[in-house]
Symmetry: C2
Subunit: 613 residues, 2 copies
């Protein structure tokens, strides 16, 4: 039953060789890798506006300035990542670049940042996608978190556990539909703006000249928010091996095209928001307000909202292509629990997928699905990993000394410096808005990585089998096996246990703990009648405890035994036929087993007996 549901949801298991090695053409790669970056149009401009709208219309005129800064940064980051694609045709991202070029600590910082980012990408993209949906269908307002979690666990987690191929066409059309919709929106909006058919607007504020420090703080905060649009630019450089040959060159062309598209849409949308004086509102996204302003609630409005929702959900999906492989690399390098490196029965990294889903789910739940709170956490990790990757490449170019290496190193150095400055700006501007969480999270995560690493190293030392020296697989001649059987009264189960004990040892002790004298005498009498050939040791437990006297007795045995002797405790245990019957019995056997397994000086053997009725 459970098996069938499981099969239906997850699909049949796959053999190792069934792993996909398909190569992608550029048009397909663009849509697959760029959904994360391009979808950020769905929340990026809004985030800038939110920061500027706080003091009313006053600071609103600064929108173009902030957008220009963001676009400039986008250009720098794009150029830098073109270099990454060139330098690192094996794929792998910031962590790989750093571990090969900068050493362990920067690599772990990058890994921690990426870890935070991937989780945040899922949370932010899903929340934003749902915002696009509820903007179009206000009846859904108030159920955002539920929708988020359904999309997360019942759609994204499930399809990724199934391991849908990245190359599936399902992932191709939402990106193009969304980009096409945006272009039409911008074209019509700009045409209306210049032909004057736009609605009548309030006069623009003229107080713009009063530029002071408070405004600067505001602008930096708006810029920091806007930087969230830049996430996902690195996706192509991580996926170089999936391109058709020549891989690097195709990847670079696709990167340029993607950044161009992203930049244009960002600029266009920002222009329209400014022109139509769209102000952030509760429960409706600015993109929705803008589309409504330009087209009214026509079919095209719904088309934009639905494609926005889809591309955002798709963007969340890119984290599923990113984090589980990263965790798997970290696990292979022994910085993460080993089971994160195993592929599940469908060849996907199922443990990583589940972990990502749970973490993102917790974030959505804790922040109640409100995107703006999550975005505060977002940009800093992205730019930290950008900075590390760029720095790593500078080292790489200096070492490789390939053609144009000076120019390339320069570009990456510039990228590293600028993205490093952005990290500082964001940390400063958004510190109290959640950036501190990431700034605490990263060192803690690095600490955990290192702790895990040293634990695995310790363990492999301790488990190492020296092949020279005496043969450790031969028992010493004087080694005896002292068997202890604990009983509650002589039953058929005890008889069965003692039969087995006799096959594994000649040293058998039988222990019985009595809680009162009469009972002790009754059991002793019955034991004598059994003719077992073994003496019964009875302990009268003063305080009616059962387990403690047994543990004390075992400790005594351990003290008296020879160093080469084993102590085996056989615990008779019956399994009940119905689950609730279990509650009708003392859990003494189970408890004793659990406590004894925690000791390193006794071997615990469980003798099963199944009740048939």
């Amino acid at each position: 039953m459970f098996r069938n549901i499981h099969r239906f949801l997850i699909g049949r298991p796959l053999l190792n060789w069934e792993i996909s090695h398909e190569k992608l053409p550029k048009w397909k790669a663009l849509s697959i890798f760029s959904s994360d970056a391009i979808s950020s149009v769905g929340y990026g401009p809004e985030q800038i506006a939110l920061a500027l709208a706080v003091p009313g219309l006053l600071a609103y005129g600064y929108l173009p300035m902030v957008v220009a800064a963001v676009l400039f940064l986008l250009a720098i980051v794009t150029l830098s990542y073109v270099q990454v694609a060139r330098a690192n045709p094996g794929g792998g991202g910031s962590y790989s670049v750093a571990i090969h070029n900068l050493g362990e600590l920067p690599a772990l910082v990058a890994a921690a940042s990426l870890f935070a980012d991937y989780v945040l990408t899922v949370a932010v993209s899903i929340s934003s996608g749902t915002d696009a949906l509820t903007s179009a269908f206000p009846a859904l307002i108030g159920h955002e978190v539920a929708i988020d979690l359904i999309i997360l666990f019942c759609v994204l987690m499930l399809i990724n556990l199934r391991g849908v191929r990245e190359s599936s066409n399902v992932f191709v059309w939402p990106t193009y539909l969304f980009a096409g919709g945006m272009i039409i929106l911008i074209a019509v909006g700009v045409y209306n703006a210049f032909t004057g058919s736009a609605p009548i607007l309030p006069h623009e504020s003229t107080v713009r000249q009063n530029f002071d420090a408070a405004i600067l703080v505001l602008l930096l905060r708006a810029f920091a928010n806007g930087c969230s649009s830049m996430t996902g630019v690195e996706a192509i450089s991580n996926g170089v091996p999936m391109f058709k040959a020549p891989e690097a060159s195709n990847a670079i062309k696709t990167t340029y095209f993607m950044s161009g598209l992203l930049g244009s849409i960002l600029a266009g949308i920002s222009f329209l928001i400014l022109h139509y004086h769209i102000m952030p509102q509760e429960n409706v996204t600015m993109l929705s307000l803008l589309t409504e302003t330009v087209f009214g609630r026509s079919w095209f409005y719904y088309f934009i909202q639905i494609t926005t929702m889809m591309i955002l959900y798709l963007a969340a999906n890119t984290s599923y292509n990113g984090l589980p492989p990263l965790l798997s690399i970290l696990a292979k390098d022994k910085y993460m629990p080993r089971y994160l490196s195993f592929r599940g029965e469908r060849l996907s990294y199922s443990n990583g997928i589940v972990l990502l889903s749970i973490l993102a789910g917790i974030l959505i739940w804790v922040f109640n699905g409100e995107v703006e709170h999550l975005i505060s956490l977002y940009a800093i990790g992205v730019f930290l990993s950008f900075t590390i990757a760029q720095t790593g490449l500078v080292v790489y170019w200096r070492r490789e000394k390939s053609s144009h290496w000076r120019a390339r190193a320069f570009i990456n150095a510039l990228g590293a410096i600028i993205t490093g400055i952005v990290v500082l700006i964001i940390a400063e501007a958004k510190f109290f808005y959640g950036a501190w969480i990431v700034l605490i999270f990263i060192p803690i995560m690095v600490f955990i990585f290192k702790k895990i690493h040293s634990h695995y190293a310790d363990m492999s030392d301790q488990l190492h089998l020296p092949l020279d020296g005496p043969n450790l697989f031969e028992a010493p001649i004087d080694s005896k096996n002292l068997v202890l059987v604990t009983i509650a009264s002589p039953t058929i189960l005890v008889a069965q246990t003692i039969r087995y004990a006799k096959t594994i040892s000649n040293n058998i002790s039988i222990l019985y703990v009595a809680t009162d004298q009469e009972e002790a005498e009754r059991v002793q009498k019955k034991w004598n009648a059994c003719n077992t050939g073994l003496p019964l040791t009875t302990i009268l437990s003063d305080f009616r405890l059962i387990i403690q006297p047994i543990l004390d007795y075992i400790s005594q045995m351990v003290k008296q035994k020879n160093p080469n002797d084993y102590i085996t405790v056989i615990i008779p245990e019956f399994e009940t036929r119905k689950w609730w019957h279990r509650f009708l019995h003392n859990q003494t056997g189970w408890l004793l087993r659990t406590l004894l397994i925690l000791r390193n000086d006794v071997i615990v053997t469980t003798m099963p007996f199944h009740l048939k009725k």
Copy 2:
């Protein structure tokens, strides 16, 4: 650390002979056994008034009629229970009476009713006690449930786990203080009423003559509510052995005195409520309103509120003296899980005490500490167990034929009939107000009792050791022990495991499950280098599963073995030094152990290895 806290809260363990056998004088017994009954004055009249107040002042004049009916019933029940004390000087209550005189089914019905009642007594008494408190200190309103649960778990459960002696003076003075306070309140109130110094009142309604069916329903409901005052009358008859000699005669005198006291207070309070036209109000008890009307917010008002609170909490405590022993009797008769019959280290029935606390806590939490909802559930079980006890006594008198047996049987028969009618009235009047819950609970509980009983019977059949026939403690000569060791790679832990395996068997198989071919070859090579003298069986797992191939291999072994052979699976298991290290390892060993223990055809042995770093 935990041990010290435990010792501090619960106290040192006690030896068997330290159990108390103190005999009580009447004045002490009265206060100890009657807190449940007398405390019901704290909510009984209010419950009647609540039922009558629904249609405004109209039905309010019927209060005396209902109170009179309740007092009449009290007299009947008292007379009946005097007979119980006489017939059953060994103590034990309705269940004991029924099992000795009526057979299994009535006894189980009585047990189920008592079970429900004891739990409800705790919930109702604590909620009412807290109501008395919040009436006096309105600042506490809104925190009732929290106060209830603190009293329940941090006070009542804890002192009962410590096993405070019933005879402690702590339990004596609240009852007398409360009774004394009530008598003063009634005396002063009645004096004021007749000397005319009472406040001016609205005119009484004159519409009283319109008596119809709707009024009858109302009256029955009020009567049903009022019957809740009768709970606890049976307490003395259950505690006969604790009285000083002559036990029965002293118990009977005490019963009369208690009922007299209860009846007088009930009558007096009802008179005052009627006279001063006290109406039920939100958040303030009627007793509080009444005391305030008579005395104002003087120190005497607070005295009454505090003693009311204390006697109600004390009444809750009486269930702790009642239910755990009842559960222990049921457990000894094999109708309840056996561990409910064990005395804890302080000689109290700790499992029963914890169970009672949890159930009462759930009730309080689910009903949000609102007494009137709980009382609906209350009275029916009480009267059902009254009826069964009385019927049992009729059978008893007929059998014993002691002096005056006809008169005694007549009294009990009358009691049985009247309380039986009351059961029907309550079931009818309060069916939709919660009585249905009890009416469903009782048959379910009886079903559970019977199921448990038959499970224990089945089990004892299956575990029974036949002492004639062949000696079951001797293993057949042809019995072999086939040992299987599963490994992940040859480590020092594997070496240790195989050394042990060699001491318990000559038939050792080593199983290794590989997830890919390369790894398989690497492990095989290392194995060969180890010089173990044992062949390695490698299974290549197509779908990267580890556990399933092992289980399949074991099933294969089970099929091929001789009937007398044992299969022992040794699972090497390392314990990590820090708890969180556990998460860094696959739980394969643990999972395998758990799954194998569920089988009845393999013996599972756990080989411990403790990591030291």
